[in-house]
Amino acid sequence: MTKRVRASVLLRHAVGLHARPSIKLTKLAKGFESRIDLGLSADGPWVDAKSIVKVMATKAPKDCVIYFRAEGADADAAVQALVTLVEGDFQDGR
């Protein structure tokens, strides 16, 4: 069964989507089967959330809203996990 899920979350990380948080995010995304996209607005442009090249290239600064959309069997869990990661400040507080 294919599901489509969307969510958004405020990026509060002190410096924005720098290397360390980007690596954590793409590693987490790669653990899901679903196709997962990331964007900086509700209607894209979208990039592959499993690609460090693409995610870093968004150069997302602090205090911007990150949008996720996922499509696949585990889309719900994927979006939930990614939102939790960003909300939890990438679990490193740095």
Partner: protein
């Protein structure tokens, strides 16, 4: 007697403080790789092999490192290697018949370019990380290995990639670059690991095997130093190793002595660009802005609006903290074409600082008007350099009042900022009670060289370049008079940035120091160890 070799001094900009003594190693650039004739299958295997070798080398290097900053640099490169978005187009190009090296460069170069163009300094600096990865894979494709650097060497290179920096056993060594900047990733790594580093040095006649000392506090590389210089630097290196053992690298909060007394620590800057990578919360404001940078690359002073915009940027960065802007201090070792006199026989004793400004009232008035306008937006202070007689400062005060009056007449918003003076001429220090200054800032570099009648650029006169009893007596005098008058007093200059001298300055009553941003941590650590009378 052997052949005597003249020491040579090469100047650059300090990027990470400290000193190093040892043999030079000149790193050469990666040579371009001749395109080997390969079949598509061979090219595919070559790139796959080079990517795997890079992954293996970076993984091994990560395992050897124990600091998080360094590991983060390599983690990004490892993650990039693992990203098909980057590697798939390279393999596709090989399948179309491209040579492996060209295919790899074509895949990664656009990514490098996009970082190089980023406006955010963090993302702009990531270009170097990607270039590092590109070159590692290219070297592997060309069968090249890295030049070996012995531990403790002073490495001289045009530029150095972060992974190369991290793979080097620095020991007591140091780094000198032709390119690079104090905000580059390598500079940040050098500071966090306490490796002295200087950038912007001309390396044309620098060769492997030359003996050298690197003074990264002053930004100077001395090649073939004489024995006295070498000994002096050996001692500084030993003192530095001891200070580092006692220092607290996290000391970025407010500076407080061991007895609980607060000391204000501000930074010296040469322009707004330097502030990009700095957090204003790590200092108590800007104690010295050198406005000579306004001239750089122009040959003329920017007009009032341009200057105003630059001063506003400094105030905005400081977010309410004080910003002390020094009026133009050209002359001496800072000549400016068209303004300073080219034929002065002794520029350090010539028409420089306020002497020059008062002889060019038109140029000076533009700067004073821009300062008076910017003063509305924050805690701006104006400081006049090279004041020798009280009437020089009084004339500046009149000109500042005129500038404010003109602006008010023209219905421009303006405010008369506090007007202070640099105390760097012994004559001024000796009669400091005669000067009507709102605050005093002791310029230790010039005060020392004018008191000792010894150039600070002369390595043989090293022992005259320190804080002698004569200099400390002058400092004490200025501090005492300022206290009696209820005026602020601070010290800016290399003396404040040297942790071994901090206790001496605190002993002499100073409670405000202004230092180069890269000395902040070490100075705060020295303050934290200070106990009066100890």
């Amino acid at each position: 007697m052997g052949v005597s070799i003249e020491p040579r001094r090469l100047r650059g900009r300090p990027a990470s403080p400290g000193v190093a003594v040892g043999a030079l190693v000149r790193l050469t650039e990666v040579a371009p790789i001749a395109a080997a004739q390969q079949s598509i299958a061979e090219a595919h295997a070559a790139l796959a092999g080079a990517l795997a070798a890079a992954q293996e080398a970076l993984t091994a290097l990560t395992a050897e490192l124990d600091d998080a900053d360094a590991q983060a640099v390599l983690a990004l490169q490892l993650a990039l290697l693992d990203d098909a978005t980057l590697t798939a187009p390279a393999f596709a190009a090989i399948a179309r018949g491209e040579p492996a090296a060209a295919a790899w460069s074509a895949a990664i170069d656009p990514e490098i370019a996009s970082y190089d163009e980023a406006s955010d300094p963090y993302f702009r600096a990531r270009g170097a990380d990607l270039r590092d990865l590109r070159d590692r894979v290219l070297r592997s494709l060309g069968g090249q290995s890295e030049q070996v650097v012995p531990a403790g060497a002073i490495v001289a290179a045009d530029d150095i990639p972060p992974s190369r920096f991290l793979a080097t056993d620095w020991g007591d060594g140091g780094l000198v670059l032709r390119r690079g900047s104090p905000t580059s990733h390598v500079a940040i790594l050098a500071r966090s690991r306490g490796i002295p580093m200087v950038v912007g040095v001309t390396l044309d006649q620098v060769e492997t095997g030359q003996e050298a000392v690197l003074d990264a506090d002053a930004g100077v590389l001395i090649i073939d130093p004489d024995p006295q210089t070498r000994r002096a630097f050996d001692q500084r290196r030993a003192a530095q190793a001891q200070a580092r053992q006692q220092g607290d690298p996290e000391a970025l909060g407010p500076a407080v002595t061991a007895s609980g007394e607060k000391v204000a620590v501000l930074i010296n800057v040469a322009g707004p660009a330097e502030l990009e990578a700095l957090d204003p919360a790590h200092s108590d404001g800007i104690g010295l802005v050198r406005t000579e940078f306004l001239f750089e690359g122009r040959g003329r002073l920017p007009d009032e609006d341009e200057q105003y915009a630059i001063y506003r940027r400094l105030l905005d960065w400081a977010a309410g903290r004080p910003v002390t802007i020094r009026t133009l201090d050209a002359g001496g070792d800072k000549p400016l074409p068209g303004l300073t006199r080219p034929s002065e026989t002794n520029p350090f004793l010539g028409v420089r600082g306020v002497r020059l400004s008062l002889r060019h009232p038109d140029v000076f008035a533009v700067q004073l008007r821009a300062l008076a306008r910017a003063a509305v937006a924050g805690d701006l202070k104006v400081m006049v350099p090279m004041v020798t007689l009280p009437q020089e400062l009084s004339r500046c005060r009149v000109l500042l009042a005129q500038a404010v009056a003109e602006l008010t007449r023209a219905r421009r918003e303006a405010r008369s900022p506090p007007l202070g003076m640099m105390v760097e001429v012994p004559a001024a220090a000796l009669t400091i009670e005669d000067f009507d200054a709102d605050f005093y800032s002791i310029g230790s570099n010039d005060l020392i060289q004018y008191t000792a009648a010894a150039s600070r650029d002369e390595p043989e006169l090293e022992e005259l370049a320190g804080p002698s009893r004569a200099v400390l007596g002058l400092i004490r005098r200025v501090v005492d008079v300022a206290r009696q008058k209820g005026r602020g007093v601070s010290l800016c200059g290399d003396l404040a940035a040297d942790p071994t001298h901090v206790s001496l300055l605190l002993d002499h009553g100073l409670r405000e120091l202004s230092v180069s941003p890269c000395a902040l941590q070490a100075v705060k650590a020295a303050i934290a160890r200070y106990r009066p009378g100890a």
